[in-house]
């Protein structure tokens, strides 16, 4: 069992938890993920590491309450435990030698983007952050990003936070004005990463994206997390996000296929969410 050392609500739909997992904390690096199971009947879900404290032996996760499992996880209180927590899995984000990077985060993807920005900042890299949220009440980690960034662009769909617009607008302006980065690292919904990539591709700006497909074991056994990449010669091949990623060269990834695959269980998830909602409502009564 893995104890929840700390829990806080970042906004009504996004929760932060710090989990007691010394073995994972000892090794975790930005860009890696964990797989957890809330209880004995629970499904295995991947969550990217949002932070870690090697001395305390804790690993932070930040999750959006989107389905039955994240609802169950969110129902756990500080001091309670979850059943399984395994990691760190996947390859860490490559940060070595970077002098100038642009981090683009969308929605809860910012939770994953932040440890990368923080590490780069600590390594002395110049960090430009572009963060986008639907509206002000969904913003997370604003102060943290501000501290880790040399430049910080705030974007919201409705204009209630920073500028009104999408993350690709400031990115376009920067690239159009001739600015170049060692790398653009984009983390968020697949559709956002796709549009960031369409933008950076125009300028030949190297871009890394972090994929978060459906997974089960997360250790290179089941093949569920596969995606298709196309190399420079146009040859398509299958990669596995759990062992080959989760970071990929954005120019190689078939985003449309990844988006399509992510809806495999949309129907099941909708029903499970409704059931979970009813269950939690019943408990409140």
């Amino acid at each position: 069992m893995y104890k929840i050392l700390e829990k806080k609500e970042l906004n009504p739909t996004v929760t932060f938890m710090s989990i007691d997992a010394p073995l994972v904390a000892r090794k975790a690096l930005p860009g890696q993920f964990v797989i957890l199971r809330v209880d004995e009947d629970g499904e295995r879900i991947p969550l990217t590491v949002a932070g870690y404290d090697r001395e305390k032996g804790s690993v932070d996760i930040i999750f959006q309450i989107v389905g039955a499992t994240t609802m169950k996880l969110n129902a756990k209180k500080q001091g309670e435990s979850i059943c399984d927590f395994v990691g760190p899995l996947g390859k860490p984000t490559e940060t070595e030698g970077l002098k100038k990077a642009c981090i683009v985060g969308g929605g809860v993807g910012c939770a994953i983007a932040y440890p990368v920005a923080k590490e780069l900042h600590e390594l002395g890299c110049e960090v430009t952050t572009i963060a986008g949220f639907r509206s002000k009440d969904l913003v997370i980690l604003e102060d943290e990003f501000a501290r880790a960034s040399d430049r910080f662009y705030r974007m919201s769909d409705d204009g209630s936070w920073g500028e009104k617009g999408v993350v690709t607008s400031p990115l376009h302006e920067l690239l159009e004005s001739g600015e170049r980065f060692d790398v653009v690292i984009a983390i968020g919904p697949v559709v956002m990463m796709k549009f960031v990539t369409l933008e950076t591709k125009k300028y030949g700006q190297k871009t890394i994206i972090s994929m978060n497909p459906i997974m089960i074991d997360g250790t290179g056994m089941c093949g569920c997390c596969r995606l298709t990449v196309t190399d420079a010669d146009g040859k398509r091949s299958t990669k596995f996000a759990c062992v080959d990623g989760p970071d990929f060269d954005a120019f190689t990834v078939d985003f449309d296929e990844a988006m399509m695959r992510s809806t495999m269980y949309a129907d099941f998830e909708r029903k499970a969410r409704e059931e979970a909602c009813n269950l939690f409502k019943a408990e409140v009564k």
Partner: protein, 469 residues
Amino acid sequence: MPIVPKKHPMPSQDPKVRAHNFSEVATGYTEEIAVAEAQRCLNCKNKPCVAGCPVGIDIPAFISRVKERDFEGAYGIVSSFSSLPAVCGRVCPQETQCEQKCTLGIKFEPVGIGRLERYVADRHNEGVCDDAVRPAPNGHKIAVVGSGPSGLTCAGDLARKGYAVTVYEALHTAGGVLVYGIPEFRLPKSIVAREVDGLRRLGVDIQTNVVVGKTLTVDELFEAGCEAVFIGSGAGLPNFMNIPGESLKGVYSANEFLTRSNLMKAYREHSDTPVMKGGKVAVVGGGNVAMDAARTALRLGAEKVYIVYRRSMTELPARKEEVEHAEEEGIDFRLLCNPVEIIGYDNPDDRRDPKNGFVTGIKCIRMELGAPDERGRRRPVPVPGSEFTLDVDAVIISIGTSPNPLIKSTVKGLEVNSHGGIVVNEDGLTSREGIYAGGDAVTGASTVISAMGAGKTAAKAIDEYIRNK
């Protein structure tokens, strides 16, 4: 007393009934059947069956005890050779091992050795309590990576010799392929749990949720005081065919499909893990895993399940009994057929149509057997213009696996072959001192019993290595 020419049949659930449930297909011998079957054993002098057993069980000795109704005595003999008798009695391909060599089998059907092994183990397990005698510790620490058949066997054999053994398992449950791969109806998970508990009682420490190569490295295991490490990390990533449509929704690797159903219990009504149920399903491949996937799909409610295999029934690599069971249950074998494309739904007028991207069919081409290949198997060749489409809602690809990259990439100096399998000598020793390996991580996908044999060999070699250090 005249010899009974045929094996006593295994009592089984009716095919029509069992096709809709996950309970074990074969219900097991009764005491009377077991004794009668044991009496068929000639107790011949040269015991060829023993040579056919990868772990060398003294088969005539245990069968003699069954004849005398000394079932605990029989169990004592079996379990001194095998760490997982209840498992082996169920999943070993006896027809190509012990039973193939049986002297009685020259004229008649061989003795049902597997069925007797299962009876003896099950009977023991029914009455078992904490009876394991913990051997005196010898003060040496050994780490085992992976809790599948090779790892559990190696751990058990070393623990019996007094070693302090820790097994590291990446998943949340111990058992490896015995829990995520082989379905409940062929190997009930309670039996695996029981065998694992037996090892715990022997003093084996099993740490789940530890991925060696990520959470810990092999070198760290040595730094923590282990004197030898056994790697039994299993087969690894599933192979795909590299044909169009393999990324469509409803295309599974057999590993994914079986893991969802077995390990994650997706077959149960209230499991949190989803899996596609019902519809028409095509399973590509002809091994035991393909049979398991097909029969699982059927039990999950599929109205039609095809096995698509590119060679003929003679070359089908699955265990004979599994193929017979599958046929009895109504699995439709499409032999000498090879998939060329998986077809998906595509509504060009509505990109948001939720049906878009789901499998609707599998296009295959008929094959005929041509000249034999280097292994003597006749090579299948496509018949031009013979393409046809099977209408299906899901496709399960079961054409083998490639070794997991996690360990080899984190152990310096560990030699692997061109397929990625760990290179070992006849003792299971790798290219690095103190590191041994066995099972699918070495051989690629193989059987439970051969993995157990490798675990056993390595345990013996590790013991010698430590004693001579």
